[in-house]
């Protein structure tokens, strides 16, 4: 029986086998995999998938989780509407 795909990043629909394929091509950091696969670039900004991704990298590269550099954090910490942001200074006067 065929195994069902394992989703690592549910915001951007990234499967584990895709991640493993690109790690084996030599891209072994979250920064690189994020840019190739969009993993961690969706609505949750990596909150859900990042810990999974780091574990997959550690397993595939036989390294320690603590040695895998985390990607840079980008503001805002959660999605905010254009209207709310645009009106920030109006409200403050």
């Amino acid at each position: 029986m065929a195994r069902s795909p394992k989703i690592v990043c549910r915001c951007e629909d990234v499967e584990e086998r895709e991640v493993v394929k690109w790690i084996r091509r030599g891209y072994k950091t979250p920064e690189e995999l994020k840019r190739i696969l969009r993993i961690g670039m969706g609505h949750c900004q990596g909150r859900t998938c990042l810990s999974l991704l780091v574990r997959i990298i550690a397993r595939e590269t036989k390294s320690e989780i603590k040695d895998i550099p985390l990607p840079k954090r980008r503001p805002p910490l959660k999605p905010i509407s254009i209207r709310t942001l645009a009106s920030f200074y109006e409200k403050e006067g």
């Binding site: 690189e32 900004q45 805002p76 645009a86």
Partner: protein
């Protein structure tokens, strides 16, 4: 024994990747060194716009060639680079800006670009939610477009590997020395390589790499910021460029439906500092919502900052230096991603055949840097 390449490339952004690919295609053995990860400099901060609407004739010719390359690059690289010819719409809110566009259109038409100056009503046919207040019209070219800078760069790098080249990521070049007809290149991993030629494609760090050979290169980084929204309904297919002092530019990716954009800060912020500002996070949405009020409900996901690499005249440097065999391909002035494919291809032609199909003499390092590009 020391490993030897025909061409050593410094920099894993779009320029290094494109130069490397077209040289590898000409059967040169390419080693590419990137001090961090590929696209970690300017390329990864670029929003992905690709246009032919310039005022400088050589830039127009190069961009016509780049668009031709982009339009078939997914097939060539075996990777979907998300090319979409969604067009560019330059808005005019003042007679001065309108006249600048009209003059540029005269030049662009000589190169058969299907560019037109549209009335405000015609602008709205292309961007249905556009706010027409104060608008005098817009310069529109439907064959401009966008592609994904990450995909293009990684696509080129994978092809370099397939053609026998090597990519050294997280490897910084510490020293370059002239050695006979070629060079020796030492990295922070303690290894030394030989290279027949060295090509400085280091983007914002072009001047820093030049210093390794005692050169002073006129390339100066300044900070630009960008943001991306969540995916949303179709709201703006073309890149919208607002040239007012508090203007901005943004478009919607056809592949993922995210809206992405930035503006040029005034005054410019010089240097390599790439921190994000709260000012941009509030000011950019204000400028976007002024142009397309329907964007109000769309949420901003992420903001970042990156460098433009400016030269004194706003045009690139594609040139051998006074040190024979040491080349600079840099100073792309915020247009490196869109110029990259054609510049890479033309540079490879020049190096291998002695002359490129579009001569790049105007981008020589020893030119007069006095004349300026008006559609920056």
């Amino acid at each position: 024994m020391r490993r030897k390449a025909d061409a050593v490339i410094i920099g894993g952004g779009i320029i290094g990747a494109a130069v490397g690919y077209y040289l590898a295609k000409e059967r040169l053995r390419v080693y590419l060194f990137e001090k961090s990860y590929p696209t970690s400099g300017s390329t990864g901060k670029a929003i992905g716009g690709i246009r032919q609407q310039f005022s400088h004739e050589l830039t127009i010719r190069i961009m016509v060639e780049s668009v031709r390359i982009f339009s078939q690059l997914s097939e060539e690289l075996g990777m979907d680079i998300e090319w979409h010819p969604g067009g560019y719409l330059f808005l005019a809110h003042s007679p001065e800006i309108r006249d600048t566009y009209l003059k540029a259109i005269e030049i662009q038409k000589r190169y058969n670009l299907p560019v037109r100056f549209l009335t405000p009503k015609e602008c709205r046919e292309i961007v249905p939610h556009l706010n027409l207040e104060g608008l005098l019209g817009g310069a529109y070219c439907p064959t401009d477009g966008h592609a994904n800078p990450f995909k293009v760069t990684y696509g080129y790098l994978e092809m370099i590997k397939r053609l026998g080249g090597k990519i050294f990521t997280y490897t910084k070049v510490l020293a370059i020395k002239k050695e006979g007809k070629g060079f020796s290149v030492r990295t922070d991993k303690g290894e030394t390589f030989s290279g027949g030629m060295v090509i400085n494609c280091a983007g914002p760090w072009v001047a820093e790499v030049g210093k390794l050979l005692g050169l002073s290169l006129p390339v100066f980084p300044d900070r630009h910021e960008g943001l991306v929204t969540e995916e949303c309904p179709d709201l703006c297919e073309p890149m919208i460029v607002d040239y007012r002092p508090d203007g901005c530019y943004f478009f919607q990716y056809r592949s993922t439906r995210h809206i992405i954009g930035c503006y040029t800060p005034k005054p410019l912020i010089s240097g390599l500092d790439n921190s994000s500002s709260f000012e941009f996070l509030t000011e950019m949405p204000r400028r976007m919502a002024r142009l397309i009020p329907a964007l109000g409900d769309v949420k901003v996901l992420r903001q970042w900052a990156g460098s433009y690499e400016m030269t004194p005249d706003g045009n690139p440097i594609v040139s051998e230096t006074e040190i024979k065999g040491f080349y600079v391909v840099g100073g792309m002035c915020g247009h490196g991603f869109m110029l990259g494919p054609a510049i890479g291809k033309l540079f490879a032609e020049k190096v291998v055949k002695g002359e490129s199909s579009i001569p790049l003499d105007e981008f020589r390092l020893d030119r007069d840097f006095g004349k300026k590009e008006v559609m920056r």
